[in-house]
């Protein structure tokens, strides 16, 4: 049962492995809890800006902003 089939991602550029994704998931959750209810939005916005700067491509960031606004 530890080898259940898991769906594969279809994105072509750099993507995270499932293990890495789980690691990010946990650390992000802990970061939000650590920031606290008052400051979580500020924390997440700062994080988005930091990651945007690392991506280094305004068009890609713009696409991600549109994507994140879907299905809220």
């Amino acid at each position: 049962m530890n080898q259940e089939t898991i769906g594969h991602t279809t994105m072509s550029h750099n993507t995270l492995s499932t293990t890495a994704l789980e690691q990010v998931y946990d650390q992000l959750a802990e970061g939000i809890t650590q920031a606290g209810a008052e400051k979580e939005a500020l924390f997440l916005t700062k994080l988005a800006l930091l990651l945007a700067n690392q991506v280094g491509d305004a068009n890609q960031v713009s696409e991600s902003i549109d994507e994140a606004l879907k299905n809220l």
Binding site: M1, N2, G7, H8, T9, T10, L21, A29, A37, E67
Partner: protein, 563 residues
């Protein structure tokens, strides 16, 4: 005096039989010294008694009630569980009734956002998952126990005191005809999550108690859907929570949902609340069939284990030893792995086939397994029932993204009960060729089943014994192996050689499996002389590319301190 409820429990599909209390010899003044007393005739206690009887070990099985499980409780049994249950002889009856399955589906806002398919190997006799209500399983096990003269099943008997000494235990038992004392060399506590024995002896559990409370409800309804696991996230009628559905035999469906924060068990189980919620779920999935409630209960999620399962002459097993999160069918399926690990070791210690400290490896292997389970389960639990604001936001973001972004879908995958590999076991032999194999079960893992023919599988050939799987096309075993086998057999230790040969061979002295196209050779990465040493619980303790008598002796010494 202990007066168990002797009116048959209510059920829409199951006829409860009452097993009356019978006066034991102790109440007539006899003083007996028993070998093993097992507390709790649930799935784990019953299998423990049957497993011990395979080695000729008699046991007394103590049960406070006079009938089997109230409600369906454990309903999903894994392939590994079926392999263990096959050893105690109940799978034929189970297979007539179980609903096998291998796919799980996750839904969000009406869309299926993830589908899991568990692999099914053609060499497996049993399907990855098998649904059956616990009452049926217990009934099959009880029938098996009643047919076994070595097991003395005492219904309607309750433990009220225990004295645990280094050389045995003394119990005070209460019955409808009064109290008596029972003496036993060993005690197995298989009395479940609310273990009386654990409570009396006082060892502390380690780990977390999550905050979530869940309702489980069985309803009789005709729903035209295949047997697959259905999970619904964040439905409108129960925002933020998760609902699970499983099909059971006899036209029963299991619904499982988390309670809103702050709601008590009494409020959740009030008929109007149950009816409203179950109807809301059925409405959401477009089912308008009439339904009737069979059974419901509330449980809370836990992830705790005792740090040691061995306390002088008391062995804890199953839920008495640990309480594991329900997501991933980890209750009975873990409990059987526990007791199957323990039974042969206890039998070997009682028979004098191995020193008593063999039992320390039971605790070492199974506490390690419980901690692995807790670690794996906590990942699923964090997704299913987020413990804090951070995890809730991550879960909600994942749900929202899952509608358009496939990359998050693996996060829906939750880990289910699996067979644990005892990779670091003290029983594993250091001197072997484990790392050189490119296939086959690794050292510490259970054997992988092999289809040998029509209705004929490797596990069908295994019994209560240590095995050497010896791959060879030679008509004769090596002389050294024959001598060792004879010497071990003379000492009483159950030890058998199973030869796997690509040529048809006949042998009086040992079992031969004919492997004409070399299929098993291939699955086990075996060539002439390859050997696997297998424990009585089917886990590999050493494997060699080439048989060597000295290596086998070393490994046997490691396993059972054979001199």
């Amino acid at each position: 005096m202990h007066f168990p409820d002797s009116s048959p429990r209510a059920s829409l599909y199951y006829d409860y039989q009452i097993y009356p209390f019978r006066r034991p010899p102790e109440l007539n003044g006899d003083t007996l010294q028993h070998k093993v007393v097992i507390i709790g005739a649930g799935p784990v206690g019953l299998v423990t008694a049957l497993d011990l009887a395979r080695y000729g070990i008699p046991s007394v099985l103590i049960e406070a009630d006079v009938q089997v499980s109230q409600g369906s409780r454990a309903i999903v049994f894994t392939r590994r569980s079926m392999e263990i249950l096959q050893q105690v002889g109940v799978t034929d009856r189970m297979l007539e009734k179980v609903l096998p399955w291998r796919c799980g589906n996750s839904f969000y806002r009406g869309e299926r956002v993830f589908r899991m398919e568990a692999p099914y190997d053609e060499d497996d006799r049993f399907q990855p998952m098998n649904n059956l209500q616990q009452q049926y399983l217990e009934e099959y096990l009880v029938d098996q126990v009643l047919a076994e003269p070595l097991i003395d099943l005492r219904w309607g008997t309750k433990v009220i005191a225990i004295d645990n000494q280094p050389d045995g235990v003394q119990l005070t038992l209460d019955t409808p005809e009064g109290e008596y004392q029972l003496h036993s060399d060993w005690l197995v506590a298989a009395d479940g999550a609310k273990s009386t024995i654990r409570g009396m002896l006082g060892p502390r559990m380690e780990g977390d108690s999550y905050t979530g409370n869940f309702v489980i409800a069985d309803i009789k309804i005709n729903i035209d859907l295949p047997t697959e696991r259905l999970a619904y996230f964040d439905p409108e009628w129960n925002p933020g929570n998760t609902i699970l559905m499983h099909r059971e035999p006899e036209g029963i469906w299991r619904l499982d949902y988390q309670l809103p924060e702050g709601e008590t068990a009494e409020e959740a189980l009030a008929p109007e609340s149950l009816n409203k919620r179950i109807q809301a779920q059925l409405d959401m999935i477009g089912v308008d069939a009439p339904w009737e409630m069979d059974w419901c209960s509330v449980y809370s999620a836990r992830a705790m284990t005792l740090p040691d399962y061995l306390h002088d002459r008391v062995l804890f097993t199953g839920d008495a030893a640990h309480m594991l999160p329900i997501f991933g069918v980890r209750g009975a399926n873990t409990g059987w792995q526990d007791c199957h690990n323990m039974a042969w070791k206890l039998a070997f210690a009682i028979k004098g086939w191995a020193p008593e400290h063999l039992l320390a490896s039971y605790s070492q292997e199974r506490v390690t397994a419980a901690r692995e389970i807790i670690d794996e389960a906590s990942k699923s639990t964090r997704f299913m029932t987020p413990p804090d604001r951070g995890f809730r936001l991550l879960r909600d973001a994942t749900l929202s993204l899952s509608l358009t972004q496939p990359f998050v879908r693996p996060l829906f995958h939750w880990r289910t009960s699996r067979a644990h590999d005892y990779l670091d076991s003290v029983l594993n032999c250091m001197r072997d060729d484990n790392a050189e194999f490119s296939a086959g079960p690794v050292k510490g893992a259970p054997l992988q089943n092999i289809r040998l023919g029509d209705d004929d599988y490797l596990f069908d050939r295994l019994g209560a014994s240590i095995y050497l799987l010896y791959f060879s096309d030679q008509a004769e075993l090596p002389m050294a192996l024959t001598l060792l086998k004879d010497a071990v057999t003379r000492s009483g230790v159950p030890f058998e050689v199973v030869q796997i040969s690509r040529k048809p061979l006949a042998s009086q002295s040992h079992q031969v499996i004919h492997d004409p196209i070399g299929h098993m050779h291939q699955r086990y990465d075996a060539s002439e002389g390859t050997s696997y040493l297998v424990r009585p619980d089917q886990h590999v303790s050493a494997r060699w590319k080439q048989f060597d008598n000295g290596d086998l002796l070393t490994a046997m010494k490691r396993l059972i301190n054979l001199s």
